[in-house]
Symmetry: C2
Subunit: 241 residues, 2 copies
């Protein structure tokens, strides 16, 4: 039976990390909320479905797979990695990739807060002063620190075609691709300035983008475009001058 | 060989979730950075140690155990849960407890940002206006939403002595205890007002606090007190009026 991904339609969001893993693994899945409303899609149906899902999820994304109902992005990816050969089989390798993914999750939460530092339930325009200050701190301190960390790992691995956990690509590598492209979309000037310091990260993103199934996915309508509704938003005033 | 916890000395922080699990499991461990400097403790030694740890951690806490070097709180707890009977043995149970822990981690990050909504590297006093706004949104929207979610789970389990994952206490229950006590410390008025809506959460916190090893730990010097240096800070102006 096809897996079911339950995530907000219309944005990449955290669901995109799950989509990339499912696509790269060649898994048959349905992106439920993106179906027509007649077929059970849409936001209202998603919210209603969540109220009755067991065990109860706090928020999307949620994956239904092999009889399991799994929420929290890193938790879902750990499942996909284990069942679909996107993580090392040994305990150390699995913990390492999970550790990397959790660090990426922390980074993603900080990216979100560059445009919503006060509250997710009010408009960007109503928290713009705080957003300008938070985005500056993010660009100047946090983004270089996070990407420098991943660069250091890749350099330690030779950065010659291997990923964060060695020669084989894992779900954490797919997620680092998404984060890199997202940061380039949201902060093009700051990322351009940082580029000379993160060659390994940029090379890995290229390598992931060229993987056969990922390349095909990115060209398809299944890939939601970046936009100012998602986590990675391009507000020029939040980028470097 | 004793496990080694590597975490900032002087604060509970995210290290506290690991301490509670190690204490409840009765594991022999050394809280390395809290040793005297002569014995290898202190912040400087921690920072230096991290630079050479393999695989490289992004930030504390880090656990050295059975030859593994593990970072990211939820990742460390998953290891402790699996090896020390603080998580269910089956796949569904393990994923559920991990999912709960990741939701608690999201909550903890939001608590931190109530007093540091702009940047972790500048003082609270220099981001107080944003903190007032963020803390209000947290108290009025996010805190009730998160705690209401855990309440709903506990009510579904009967809330009669069982935890979030059934009768047996897991590391997620220990973490919910810490979060509850932390929120009561930071936002006493808001938590007092919320109390009638979260009887199951408050009962679980009591039950965890009475566990033999936890009770003994909380009375010991190994327990760092809450303070205005940690994640849960009591700034009266950030609490309800």
């Amino acid at each position: 039976m096809a897996y079911e991904l339950h995530y907000w339609p219309g944005i990449q969001g955290r669901g995109e990390f799950v989509r990339l893993a499912l696509e790269d693994a060649g898994v048959d899945y349905v992106d439920v909320a993106r179906l027509s409303e007649a077929d059970g899609g849409g936001e209202a149906a998603l919210v209603n479905w969540m109220d009755f899902a067991t065990p109860p999820p706090f928020a999307p994304p949620i994956l239904r797979a092999k009889g399991h109902t799994i929420a929290q992005t890193a938790n879902i990816l750990e499942f996909i990695g284990r069942h679909h050969d996107l993580a090392p089989p040994d305990e150390d390798g699995r913990m390492w990739v999970n550790q990397l993914q959790l660090t990426l999750a922390d980074l993603v939460a900080e990216v979100h807060d560059t445009h919503h530092p006060i509250s997710s339930s009010t408009y960007y325009e109503d928290q713009k002063d705080a957003a300008l200050a938070r985005a500056k701190a993010f660009r100047e301190e946090r983004m270089p620190k996070y990407l420098g960390y991943f660069e250091r790992i890749l350099q330690g691995n030779g950065a010659d075609g291997g990923g964060l956990a060695g020669a084989a690509i894992t779900y954490a590598d797919l997620s680092l691709f998404q984060v890199t492209r997202g940061l380039q979309y949201a902060f093009p000037k700051a990322m351009q300035a940082l580029a000379p310091k993160i060659p390994g990260v940029l090379l890995l993103a290229e390598q992931v983008q060229r993987r056969r199934r990922i390349a095909s996915y990115l060209k398809s309508e299944r890939r939601v475009p970046f936009s100012e509704e998602g986590i990675f938003r391009h507000y020029p005033e939040l980028d470097a001058n």
